[in-house]
Amino acid sequence: MKRWGPDATVFAVIIGALLLAPLVVYPVLVMKAMCLALFACAFNLLIGYLGLLSFGHAMFLGGAGYAAAHAAKVWGLPPELAILVATAFAAALGVVVGWLAIRRQGIYFAMITLGLAQLFYFVCLQSKLTHGEDGIQGVPRGHLFGLIDLGSTTAMYGFVLVVFVLGFTLIYRVIHSPFGAVLTAIRENEPRAISLGYNTDHYKLIAFVISAALAGTAGATKALVFQLAALTDVHWSMSGEVVLMTLIGGLGRFSGPVVGAFVIIAIEKLFGESGGKIVVAQGVVFVACVLLFRQGIVDAIRNPRALLRVLRLLRLLS
């Protein structure tokens, strides 16, 4: 068995880059990117290794954001416990949603997860706990283990980096375990996996819950970074964004979503965070990825001419 594959090299490069990043880029932006990257890696566990496209993953990101914000602000829990509570909440939500959604496959799975996420969105919009349109504001970052004040950007940055690396490593372990091998087998040929005696629904559900829980960890961390849990994180457009991040990185490529998350943040920087322009830009990148660069960024680098044309089109739109 190979212990240090190309994944490990990429992993080391990513961590190195993240350690140096705050020297050149606004740290909060990198923290946001790390949260979204973890979110996208969790999402990629489903689409990349199980072939299931969830179009409702925002509910785990945003739902856990609300849970963490509530735990930290109303219950006064320290940040590490708030994140744990939120992760557990996302996992529980994942059990219910996954249990319903894995009854269908392919595009139906996508539509069902989208529908259930929309249900969750409306609940968040109306619930008193989430404060509707205002969201939960002024969430205290608190003291990590009662010792380290996360109010300082440096401490928070280090904390987010640790959460990100832990989550990333966990997903790596899941994929490279016998469990991960079964997931790949289900993606490649489900009837055959069933005939070999695997209870595929069971495996799908576990993978779905792991993915939901880690998406929750990402959302909870994001809520602490911004000290805010709001409706944008449970909206369907966020579910679309995570699909896009994964698509940019290349479906099923382990480190792809990380790259995708940073590209998305860059696009947001260029086009503004809201309004019509960013929506158009995301749509163009979607179409370009599906039609021209199906392996994501790797294909884009291989075909610089097409990439240049897409970039020119994007500049025209900005």
């Binding site: 269908r104 595009i107 929506v279």
Partner: protein
């Protein structure tokens, strides 16, 4: 329940029928497209919105009224659909259908974003045509004429579509191509052209629904996105196995939504998704779907 009068209840049910008309027209188009192309058309909502905007633009820039819009908007959007099919969707048929879902999602974002940039989020009003203004007293309730018109015309279009597909020669080609495109092609029927036309007709139905919706809701860039998510739930509930199934499910869910609005208003925006969850528990293939 106290405080709910019969006229108010009937009024809500009528609103439900109207929403149901849009659900039926949209899910019908989705079902036709899915049957032949195996594509779930995520751009359907955006094209519905585009239909409404074409209607608005015809009036605003060219002075062409509602009746022209009902004919021209579906033609324009249908033509655009055929171009999209020929230039983009067609390239992905050999791949996993998820790619076409993602492609049409991207197209939807582009269309929606462009209109958001141009018109903002609030949208434009569209007046009810003169002929259909006013109300009619039916004795047991007061019927706004436009609302009655929308319900009737949607029903007629839905049934006509059903008739064409299930009872005519053209429809039999379509059904045959859905079952086995290679064989139908071997009989000398131009299947790729049929696929293109089908996509065009499917999205033309969406544009038609958009024009019908224009005087009821404001014509706004966001009107498609929210609707299409509900329509997807409708599709999951009905199953995409039958044309009649999607029509019935569409109208029925509009009514369910309306009844919820009367008896427990806070749940009216979520009830369709709750029904979807329930149906998945009892009949995962959908009410009219074939077992997977």
């Amino acid at each position: 329940m106290p405080g709910i009068t019969i006229p108010a209840l009937l009024g809500q049910l009528l609103l439900g029928l109207i929403n149901g008309s849009f659900y039926a027209l949209l899910s019908l188009g989705l079902a036709i497209i899915f049957g032949l192309l195996n594509v779930i058309n995520f751009a359907h909502g955006a094209l519905y919105m585009l239909g409404a905007f074409v209607g608005w633009a015809l009036l605003h820039y060219l002075g062409l009224g509602y009746w022209w819009a009902l004919i021209i908007a579906p033609l324009v959007v249908g033509a655009l659909g055929m171009v999209l099919e020929r230039t983009m969707l067609r390239r992905l048929y050999r791949l996993d259908p998820l790619y076409n879902l993602l492609l049409t999602f991207g197209i939807a974002l582009i269309i929606q974003g462009l209109f958001q940039t141009k018109f903002g989020s609030s949208g434009e009003p569209y007046a009810i045509p003169e002929l259909l203004r006013g109300v009619k007293d039916l004795g047991f309730m007061v019927l706004p004429i436009y609302r009655g018109w929308v319900t009737v015309v949607s029903l007629v279009i839905c049934l006509a579509t059903w008739f064409v597909i299930e009872r005519t020669k053209l429809g039999s080609y379509l059904r045959a191509a859905t079952e086995n495109p290679a064989l139908v092609q071997a009989f000398g029927i131009n299947v790729p052209r049929m696929v293109m036309m089908t996509y065009g007709v499917g999205v033309a139905l969406a544009a038609f629904a958009g024009v019908l919706a224009a005087p009821i809701y404001r014509v706004s860039p966001g009107m498609g996105a929210e609707t299409i998510i509900v329509v997807f739930a409708v599709v999951v509930i009905g199953g995409m196995g039958s044309i009649m199934g999607s029509i019935v499910t569409g109208f029925a869910l509009g009514l369910v939504e309306a009844l919820t609005k009367v008896f427990y208003p806070p749940a009216s925006s979520t009830v369709v998704f709750a029904v979807m969850a329930l149906v998945l528990l009892v009949r995962p293939a959908g009410l009219f779907g074939k077992a997977p």
